[in-house]
Amino acid sequence: MKKKRKSTGGAFRQNYYAYVLITPGLLLVGIILIYPLVRGIISSFFTQASGSMEFEAFVGLQHYQELLDDKIFIQAMKNSLWWTVIIVAALYLLGLGIALLLNCSFKGRGIFRSLVLIPWVVPGIAAAMTWKWMYASQYGIINQILQYLGLIDKSVDWLGSAGTALGSIMVTAIWKDVPFVVVVLLAALQSIDTTLYEAVYIDGGNAFQAFWHITMVGIRDVSVTTILLEIIWTFNKFDLVYTMTKGGPANSTQIIPVYTYITAFNFFKLNKAAAIGVVGLLIVGVFAVAYIIYNERREAQES
């Protein structure tokens, strides 16, 4: 123990030039990240007068209590859970499928590998606007195609009816994010030693066994990391829903980030919005911590 402390102190003395160098960075992070975060958490326990930055009174957990009675918050929470679970599951399955296909050798593979990236580089707002047009009930191309194929008789109001709006935006979100999963999984697939597959077949294994024991094991670490990151990003996704439906119709696409935003900046209930934000932070925090722990363990194993 004593030895360890001594060596840490030594390390500090040895590396203090490095600490000096990172100080400005830390200061910046502290000011633009830590301070607003801490203030946001504190503000969820206070009230504030309209148009003022000053806290008025300490109210403890009152804003959190209010959330429990707030039907729209409950609905937003449910929507957010469905939104996250379905999108992340679809992203992974679809991403894996595409990555496996692109890992095969075929002519023009390079072109497809580049093409698949396109949705990911389109800015969120631009994608949302384009999809909003494609979904339009009277002149949207999606309705026209589906009618042409005879899959539907009458135009469907994709974003305008409570039954289809959330699902429709999920499709856009999946389209938008799947390239990232593909790229990451493809890189992992390419790092698998191909002789391992030969070994499976020599030992009499079949294709499924090769996939399960070699491919899936080979991309396990990357998969866990990707899924955890996608959970965090998807839960926090704001631009698509806000641009396409603003949480409507009838709150059917209301999700936590949008509800936090409108509570804060449309109704200026900053303290309640802070409380919603803290709840969202806690949920995301669980996965963020899981991500950090998993990474640390993996690094420890590797070393």
Binding site: I31, G51, S137, G160, A162, P249, N251, I262
Partner: protein, 455 residues
């Protein structure tokens, strides 16, 4: 080595601080005039309104910079009018510079609130529709009559001041550009369906709906997506003789949504949908989608904001296929959505006198009228209906119907009520998830619960 490190450290810190101060540079413009001796403003504030024309800043020869935040983006030529006015004003008052700050509609509300909270509010601010209600309540706006003349105040349609007047009758702003939402219809489709006259009553709307249905078209389409629902639902409510809310004896807001009039409006709105006179897809249609449906010839009539006239006039393929008409009357009479945006001098302004001078100049020298006409809307003044511009056959119904104009309710919680309850409520009703009776009862409950905290 040590000295080197120390130098590096100091340099880094300096750079870091520099970076941060750069971040806040955006709002600096109004800081400079803070050096104005408080005495100048204090002395003039006590003088009578007429005396404001004496231009205190000019007397002291001091350089003053006013910030003027306005919301635009619908018509680019608006900026030119503002810039011309600023230039002409500066020629008359060389010591007063006006800096225009342009913001868009989407961020207008939150940007102003943020500026107020941060203590960086502009000297003059334009606000949309009823936003000023909450800013009157929280004391962000200065009483306008202290800074502009009574003569100017008298030029406006008095209803324009409703939302900016507090409980004691003090007025906190001036009407900005006014807009009416009214009927635009397809003359070709009306002819095809054999409808001779544009409906003027609810009964005639239903009759026309049946005829339009016979040729496979929707009679009417109004926006009902997102948060655009209420602007197009409220006129039905008013036409039935109902309203969202009223003040009780003690001055508190209470809902009037669970009344026979409100139910009648909800039922009529739903009848239009159920009979197929209005498409149920409206819950996915914003005003642009409605306009598209209109120009595509899917719908024969829309209730739309006045700026759409300019848009349609710019589409040559629509020439001769459309016209405008006055709105129809319900059992409670005629009613349309019609109100001005507003402009204010902020309480935080250090140069309220000069801000008043600029506004007086802008309104009296014809820039106000130019601005409104350029924007395709109208100035909210008493004599405007007689002007040449107002005689345009397309604009006339909109301008004349302003006399039946209603505004959204003047409760500061209305924004929250409409976004969280009223708009989703109408959408649920259109989708058939709740009946008109349930809709009315829920709206009353939601409104009253929302206001219970403050009552």
């Amino acid at each position: 080595m040590k000295r080197k490190t120390l130098t590096a450290m100091i340099l880094m810190t300096a750079m870091c601080v520099g970076l941060l101060s750069g971040c806040s540079g955006g709002n600096k413009q109004s800081d400079t005039p803070q050096e104005t001796p408080a005495a100048t403003t204090a002395a003039t504030e006590t003088e009578a309104p007429e005396a404001t024309e004496a231009a205190p800043a000019e007397d002291s020869g001091e350089q003053v910079t006013l910030t003027f935040q306005y919301i635009g983006g619908t018509v680019p030529a608006q900026d030119a009018v503002i810039n011309d006015a600023i230039k002409a004003f500066n020629e008359q008052h060389p010591n007063i510079t006006v800096e225009p700050i342009y913001i868009d509609w989407g961020n207008g509300h939150s940007q102003f609130m943020n500026a107020v909270m941060a203590g960086t509010a502009p000297d003059i601010a334009m606000l949309g529709g009823t936003w000023c209600v909450e800013f009157v309540e929280n004391g962000s706006l200065a009483p306008i009559t202290d800074y502009v003349s009574q003569e100017l105040m008298d030029t406006f349609i008095p209803a324009g001041f409703d939302v900016m007047t507090d409980g004691d009758g003090k007025i906190y702003g001036l009407p900005w550009d006014g807009c009416t939402w009214d009927v635009i219809y397809r003359t070709d489709l009306f002819e095809e369906a054999g409808i001779e006259a544009v409906p003027t009553t609810w009964e005639e709307v239903l009759e026309a709906g049946e005829k339009m249905k016979a040729i496979g078209k929707s009679l009417l389409t109004v926006a009902c997506a997102g948060w655009e629902v209420d602007d197009y639902y409220l006129p039905f409510l008013w036409q039935a003789g109902g309203d969202i809310c009223a003040r009780d004896e003690s001055g508190n807001w209470v809902s009037t949504m669970n009344t026979p009039e409100s139910l009648e409006a909800a039922k009529f709105y739903m009848q239009l949908i159920d009979e197929g006179y209005m498409p149920a897809e409206i819950t996915g249609m914003d005003f642009e989608a409605v306009l598209n449906s209109f120009t595509e010839g899917e719908t024969a009539m829309m209730v739309a904001g006045m700026w759409n006239i300019g848009t349609l006039q710019g589409m040559s393929e629509m020439d001769g296929k459309w016209a405008t008409a006055p709105g129809w009357a319900g059992p409670g009479g005629n009613a349309v959505l019609s109100y001005p945006n507003t402009v204010h001098i902020t309480e935080q302004s250090k140069h309220k006198e000069e801000a008043g001078q600029f506004l007086e100049f802008f309104y009296k020298e014809g820039y106000y009228e130019d601005y409104c006409v350029t924007s395709g809307v109208f100035p909210f003044t008493n004599d405007f209906a007689d002007s040449e511009y107002a005689q345009d056959p397309m604009l006339k119904p909109f301008i004349e119907d302003a006399k039946y104009g209603h505004n959204r309710p003047a409760t500061s919680k209305y924004e929250e009520f409409r976004q969280l309850y009223l708009c989703p409520g109408v959408q649920s009703m259109v989708a058939g998830e709740i009946t008109p009776e349930e809709f009315c009862a829920q709206m009353e409950q939601n409104f009253n619960e929302l206001h219970a905290a403050e009552n």
